[in-house]
C-alpha cells in the first residue's frame, strides 16, 4: 500500500467510513506512527475550523491532546502487565496453576520461621499463647511484631505495657486523589479570555496531573 492509499484510508477512517477490518489494521499503524497521528490531528483541526469552533489548535501547538499526552505520561498503559505476562511466558518460573501453591508454601515457611524465632526469643508463656489454636496466617501476624509487641500480647504481669499506637499521632501523609468557508467562532465578538492556567496544573512534577486550578 502506498502512502496516498494509506492516507486516503485515514481520511475515510476519520469519517467512520472505513470497513472494520481495514480500521483495525490502520488503527494499529495510527497508534504507532507519529506522522500519521499528526496528519490525523490536522484533519480534526480542519474540520473544527470549518465548523467555526473556537480555539482550534494544531498537534504540537499547545493543544489539549498535547497536555493529555503529557499528563498521562506517568501512568501505566492499560493491560500492559497482562500483555507482558502473556508475552514473557518463557521467563515464568512456574506454571500459572502452581502459583497459589507457591504462595501458600511461602506463607507456611514464614510462619514456621516465626515460630522458631519465638521459641528462641520469647518467654515460654508467650510461645504457648502464640502456638494456641490460631490459623497459620494469624500466627504470622502475631509473630511479625518486634519483641515489645509480642510481650504485650502475653498476659504476664511483669510485662511492661507498650504503646502500640505508635505513629497514630504523627501527621498522616495526605491521601490522593459563506463569505468564508470557515465559520466564525461563537466567541469572536466577545474578547476571548485565555488564561494561561495550564502551567498551574503541573505543580512540581510535570507528569503529575493535579486537576484544573479554580
Amino acid at each position: 500500500m502506498n502512502n496516498e492509499e494509506r492516507d486516503s484510508q485515514l481520511s475515510a477512517m476519520f469519517d467512520d467510513e472505513l470497513p472494520a477490518g481495514e480500521c483495525e489494521l490502520l488503527a494499529r499503524r495510527l497508534a504507532r506512527d507519529p506522522a500519521l497521528q499528526a496528519r490525523w490531528g490536522r484533519y480534526a483541526a480542519i474540520g473544527a475550523c470549518l465548523k467555526g469552533q473556537a480555539g482550534v489548535r494544531l498537534p504540537g501547538h499547545d493543544s489539549v491532546a498535547d497536555h493529555v499526552r503529557i499528563a498521562l505520561g506517568g501512568e501505566p498503559a492499560h493491560g500492559a502487565s497482562a500483555l507482558e505476562q502473556s508475552q514473557s511466558g518463557a521467563g515464568r518460573l512456574m506454571p500459572r496453576w502452581l502459583m497459589p501453591l507457591g504462595m501458600v508454601g511461602s506463607a507456611a515457611a514464614v510462619a514456621a520461621f516465626a515460630i522458631v524465632w519465638m521459641r528462641t526469643q520469647a518467654p515460654a508463656g508467650v510461645v504457648a499463647q502464640a502456638q494456641a489454636p490460631a490459623a497459620p496466617s494469624a500466627q504470622v501476624s502475631q509473630a511479625a511484631p518486634p519483641p515489645a509487641l509480642v510481650a504485650q500480647t502475653a498476659p504476664a504481669p511483669q510485662a511492661t505495657p507498650v504503646d502500640v499506637t505508635l505513629g497514630s499521632s504523627a501527621p498522616l501523609a495526605r491521601s490522593r486523589e459563506r463569505d468564508s468557508y470557515v465559520l466564525p467562532p461563537p466567541s469572536l465578538n466577545a474578547p476571548m479570555v485565555l488564561l494561561p492556567t495550564r502551567d498551574a496544573n503541573y505543580q512540581g512534577n510535570p507528569v503529575q496531573y493535579l486537576g484544573p486550578v479554580h
Binding site: D15, L30, P34, Y43, S180, V182, P196, P212
Partner: protein, 202 residues
C-alpha cells in the same frame, strides 16, 4: 456505512495497552469536547482544562468501557459530568477578586494572569489557521469543495453525499481525501517547522 468501527478499533487498542491509540482518540475529539464544555464553563481556558480532565478520566475509566454505546456518547457523559463538577468546585472556591495587584506579596504568576488575561499567541495562531484553511478552501476545485462542505458542515455520510452529488461512494471518498490533503498541504506550508513537522521528520 457510518459505523463506529474507527473508534472501536482505537478503543480496543487502548484497552490492550496501546497508549498511542488514545492519543488518536483525543486528537479526533478534543475540539468537539472543548466546544461541548464551553456550554457550561464559558471560558476558553477553563474549558480546555475541563476537557483535559475529562480525557484523563476517560482514559482511566476505559478498561471498564464495554462498548454498549458509542465511544463519543460515553466520552460526552464524562465531559458533561466533569464540567458540572468544575462549576460546583468553582462556586465552592470562588476566585478572590479583591487581590491587590500592586502587592509584591501576591504571586507573580497570578498578577500576570489577571493583568493579561488573554494569550495573543493563541488567538493569532487560531486566526492564522482559520485564514489558511479558508484560503485553501477557496482554491479548491468545486467538486472537492462541495464534497468536504457536505461532509464537515452538513455531516452527511459518504452515501448521502454520493446521492447528492450523483457520483459513486468511492469518488466521494476520493474527493474528500483530496480536499483534506490540499488544505493540509497549505497548513504545512504556512506552519512549517511546527505542526507536527518535526514528528513527521522524526
Amino acid at each position: 456505512m457510518t459505523t463506529d468501527a474507527s473508534d472501536t478499533s482505537l478503543v480496543q487498542r487502548v484497552q490492550r495497552g496501546d497508549r498511542g491509540a488514545f492519543d488518536a482518540l483525543v486528537l479526533k475529539y478534543q475540539h468537539k469536547v472543548v466546544k461541548l464544555v464551553m456550554r457550561y464553563v464559558r471560558n476558553p481556558a477553563e474549558a480546555e482544562d475541563v476537557a483535559q480532565e475529562a480525557f484523563i478520566k476517560a482514559y482511566r475509566a476505559l478498561p471498564n468501557f464495554r462498548g454498549d454505546s458509542a465511544f463519543y456518547t460515553w466520552l460526552y457523559r464524562i465531559a458533561i459530568n466533569t464540567a458540572k463538577n468544575a462549576i460546583v468546585a468553582r462556586d465552592r472556591n470562588p476566585v478572590d477578586f479583591d487581590l491587590d495587584l500592586t502587592d509584591p506579596d501576591e504571586p507573580y504568576d497570578m498578577q500576570n494572569r489577571l493583568k493579561d488575561p488573554d494569550t495573543p499567541e493563541g488567538l493569532v495562531l487560531t486566526d492564522e489557521i482559520r485564514s489558511t484553511v479558508n484560503a485553501a478552501m477557496e482554491a479548491l476545485p468545486e467538486d472537492l469543495r462541495t464534497a468536504i462542505v457536505l461532509r464537515e458542515l452538513e455531516g452527511l455520510s459518504y452515501e448521502d453525499i454520493a446521492a447528492r452529488m450523483g457520483c459513486p461512494v468511492g469518488t466521494v471518498r476520493s474527493r474528500i481525501f483530496r480536499a483534506r490533503e490540499a488544505i493540509d498541504s497549505r497548513l504545512r506550508e504556512v506552519f512549517e517547522g511546527g505542526l507536527g513537522r518535526a514528528e513527521e521528520l522524526g
